[in-house]
């Protein structure tokens, strides 16, 4: 299996509550026509711009919806993950509202499941995915389980509990399904990826705590391509790791962002910063000793990943790495 290569960077930072530009992007997914839907999470006391942004791979900004924060049907407080089902509906989890909201691909609100006051509320819903029959799989981080629902939201089954044994979870986060409907869960605080059948039977576990290849520190997201290669957002180590279908370490990505179209356009109208930037060395190799941690290295070195929170694979098997702390997406491909 050949290594994947960097292609391009999408997006730039904007703390505005409207328009293009990201502020703490958290997750993306693709509609059936290839548009990219992105959770713009915002944070702290500045949450006016929490919303979903829609744009293309070529960086054509299209629209936005769900601008919050709020508890109304169309709004979010702390959205976490999103996923399209086979009917081109996008499901978005909100870990504060403890529910999932469903929109069509035009951003029109359809329904919400599991509100706090409903009989079946969710305890910190995070990762979400769909099987080939459109069953819905949701991580409930605070309960330490994965819950399976029918396409119309009826409870089907649930597995897992808090713990560190196989099949148990410690604040799990991201979730994905492969083409065979196996379920992969980023078991965040257990520093591993767990694989299950779509009925919840434990199949395998990949990774242990650490910083070496094949080891993880707080993995937040997992994706699987058409060849079964496994991509892990190794969030706490500020990197992405690629595993073979058997879970063996294959490749490590540290990020190599370049200027996106939006970034380039902004810098062109701010020549003072652009000129100084051209004279600067933003890929730093020799940091003082006390800053030689993944976090500090990423915070000081612009091109590499900082907060790689989500990995997603599109229909062409391109890898999209969303970085919440650099407010952009880096794209990779095998071809």
């Amino acid at each position: 299996m050949s290594d994947i290569k960097y292609l391009k960077t999408i997006g730039f930072n904007s703390n505005q509550p409207i328009g293009r530009g990201f502020n703490y992007p958290y997750d993306i997914d693709f509609s059936s026509d290839g548009r990219i839907f992105l959770i713009n999470r915002m944070g702290g006391l500045n949450s006016r711009g929490v919303r979903i942004q829609v744009f293309t791979y070529e960086e054509e900004w299209l629209e936005e919806f769900g601008t919050g924060p709020g508890t109304e049907n169309e709004n979010f407080v702390t959205p976490v993950c999103l996923s399209f089902d086979g009917q081109n509906r996008v499901f978005i989890t909100d870990e504060y509202l403890n529910e999932r909201k469903i929109f069509d691909s035009k951003g029109t609100f359809l329904e919400r499941w599991g509100q706090n006051d409903s009989p079946r509320s969710f305890q910190g819903p995070a990762g979400i995915g769909h099987s080939s029959d459109d069953s819905v799989f949701v991580v409930e981080q605070y309960k330490g389980c994965v819950t399976k629902l029918s396409p119309s939201g009826e409870f089907l089954s649930s597995w897992g509990r808090e713990g560190a044994k196989p099949g148990e979870f410690n604040l799990p986060w991201g979730l994905t399904l492969d083409k065979d409907d196996n379920v992969f869960v980023a078991d965040w605080r257990n520093d591993r990826i767990q694989k299950f059948s779509c009925d919840g039977d434990f199949i395998d576990s990949y990774g242990i705590s650490g910083t070496k290849p094949g080891e993880f520190h707080r993995p937040s997201s997992v994706a699987v391509d058409s060849k079964g290669m496994i991509y892990v957002a190794d969030w706490g180590n500020e990197r992405v790791q690629i595993l073979t279908p058997d879970g063996e370490f294959h490749q490590l990505l540290r990020g190599e962002a370049t200027l996106s179209n939006w970034a380039e356009e902004w810098l062109e109208v701010n020549p003072d910063e652009y000129d100084l930037r051209k004279e600067s060395e933003l890929l730093v190799e020799n940091l003082p000793e006390h800053l030689q941690t993944p976090y500090h290295t990423s915070s000081q070195t612009e091109p590499i990943f900082w907060g790689p929170v989500s990995v997603k694979i599109d229909t062409d098997d391109k890898l999209f790495v969303t970085e919440h702390s650099r407010h952009r997406i880096q794209v990779y491909s095998r071809s």
Partner: protein, 516 residues
């Protein structure tokens, strides 16, 4: 009987039996018991005082622990260099993604550490140096680099003063704050050279203008990586294109003046490190740092700008601390050990006005709030804003002079803010710490407890342990009145919760709670 009493004394934590050679022949059991009880109370009061100064005040259960040690051992516990435990970064960052980048303008990240650390002196000393080496986010617009500075204060703040000054002189936030990235070999900027002498070490009147220039020359080339671009982004508060980039130190040899300099009477090809060594050995430095230590850990002094014309509040104490500075090779930890074990420290209870941060953090540590970050909850940001309304916005001191302390913390507006903050938090029985205090009170008092004992127990629960007689009389009157008005409400034998909460709020409003 003697053995029995000594055993009891050991049980309550007196490792030192202070020469107790008492026997029942010499002294009656009841009298001896009372003496032991009083010693225990005195010990607990002293420990509570230490915990307010070396930390942010102890909860009742923390006080139980510290009071089980001898006073000297309790001092060592605070000075211990153990690895501090606080809320893990991964949990903070997962719940508050904006704190991962520190892109906002709020000290919430540091607040989590202040509230949850089990090594409070490490944070207290960081707060101390933050007030002296005052660096403000307002100019930098790079909160991440400023938080790195705070982390450096915590890491180096109890070490040798020379080392701390060296770290400070290489600290990116300081370098940009005082324009040392604009201090060039062929065009010096003396801002840092001036302040390191005036505000960070020796104080006005102990050096000349020529010393300032020579000092500035020695620090040429001490800058930050990509300094021009980074400072421009900071100046413009630019987050484009990909968010803020945190800063790190860089030495540019080609921009460093390595020529001969004359500084404070010494001559040589000094660089910044040589300058620091010369500064640190000056008696003026010893006395200046001593006065800061006295002001922060012992008793309020007048603001720093008045020091050159106003004698210290306790000149002998300053002599003692300055001597300790020299004797201990400038080790801040060793100086604090001497200070905490001194009589002038032990007799200094309530001689300081709590700073807003001490008040807010101390209260939140008691109420047990924000021990678990919750996504979407912004309370931690709000409380740090409230500290700002009281006059101390953390990471944003008003100028390079830092905050004026002592009585200047109190104005009619800030006092209302302070009292409202304390009573609203201590008066909320949904907070885990408040619940715990109520539970403990219920276990040691009941509806038949006399008002005096009830008030004593409430004061102890809040870690105050000593209160003025006039205040105590008022509190006891309130407690008595509450008992008389209950009319059988407390049939279960417990003091009604609202009475306890009311007493907490009253104690939180009293003068002693505002002092430390």
């Amino acid at each position: 009987m003697t053995n029995f009493l000594l055993l009891n004394i050991a049980d309550i934590g007196y490792k030192s039996t202070v020469g107790l050679k008492l026997t029942t022949q010499v002294i009656g059991f009841r009298r001896l018991f009372k003496m032991v009880w009083q010693m225990e109370q005195n010990h607990r009061e002293l420990i509570a005082h230490l915990s307010r100064r070396a930390g942010f005040g102890a909860t009742s259960s923390e006080l139980d622990f510290y009071a089980s040690l001898s006073y000297e051992d309790a001092v060592e516990e605070f000075l211990s260099s153990k690895v501090a435990n606080s809320i893990p970064d991964d949990l903070i960052f997962r719940r508050h993604v904006d704190l991962h980048t520190m892109q906002g303008h709020n000290a919430a990240y540091w607040a989590y550490r202040l509230i949850s650390t089990d090594a409070p002196l490490k944070e207290k000393i960081a707060l101390f140096w933050h007030g002296i080496f005052a660096t403000a986010e307002l100019k930098l617009n790079n909160l991440g680099s400023l938080n790195n500075q705070v982390e450096m204060f915590s890491r180096c703040g109890l070490g040798k003063f020379d080392d701390l000054l060296e770290e400070l002189s290489m600290d990116p936030a300081m370098l940009v704050w005082l324009d040392n990235h604009d201090n060039h070999k062929d065009s010096i900027n003396e801002n840092y050279g001036r302040e390191i002498l005036e505000l960070f070490s020796m104080g006005v009147g102990n050096y000349t203008e020529e010393d300032i220039k020579e000092c500035a020359k020695a620090f040429t080339g001490w800058t930050v990586k990509n300094g021009e671009y980074m400072s421009t982004m900071g100046f413009k508060d630019s987050i484009w294109p990909y968010g803020r980039i945190q800063w790190h130190y860089e030495f540019r040899e080609e921009d460093h003046d390595d020529g001969e300099k004359t500084f404070l009477g010494e001559k040589g090809r000094f660089d910044g490190r040589d300058i620091i060594e010369i500064i640190a050995k000056q008696d003026a430095t010893a006395r200046f740092i001593s006065r800061h230590i006295y002001n922060y850990f012992v008793a309020d002094e007048v603001p720093v700008p008045q020091w050159s014309e106003t004698d210290p509040r306790d000149p002998k104490a300053i002599d003692f601390i300055a001597e300790s500075y020299h004797k201990n090779n400038h080790s801040i930890k060793a100086i604090l050990r001497d200070v905490f074990n001194s009589d002038f420290f032990k007799n200094s209870a309530f001689l300081r006005v709590k700073s807003p941060v001490e008040l807010v953090i101390g209260t939140l540590r008691k109420t047990g709030e924000y021990q678990t970050p919750v996504g979407g909850e912004t309370g931690i940001f709000t409380v740090m804003e409230e500290s700002g309304f009281m006059g101390q916005k953390l990471l944003d001191p008003p100028s390079v002079e830092g905050w004026h302390t002592g009585e200047e913390w109190i104005s009619s507006g800030s006092l209302v803010e302070r009292v409202n903050f304390v009573t609203s938090h201590l008066g909320d029985d949904t907070h885990p710490g408040v619940k715990e205090m109520i539970s403990k009170l219920n276990s040691i008092t009941d509806k038949d407890s006399d008002p005096n004992s009830f008030v004593e127990a409430c004061i102890d629960a809040l870690g105050l342990n000593k209160i003025g007689e006039d205040t105590r009389i008022e509190l006891v009157n309130v407690a008595r009145e509450a008992r008389e008005n209950r009319n059988g409400e407390a049939k279960a034998g417990k003091i009604p919760q609202e009475v306890i909460i009311h007493m907490f709020k009253l104690i939180g409003s009293c003068k002693e709670y505002q002092l430390c």
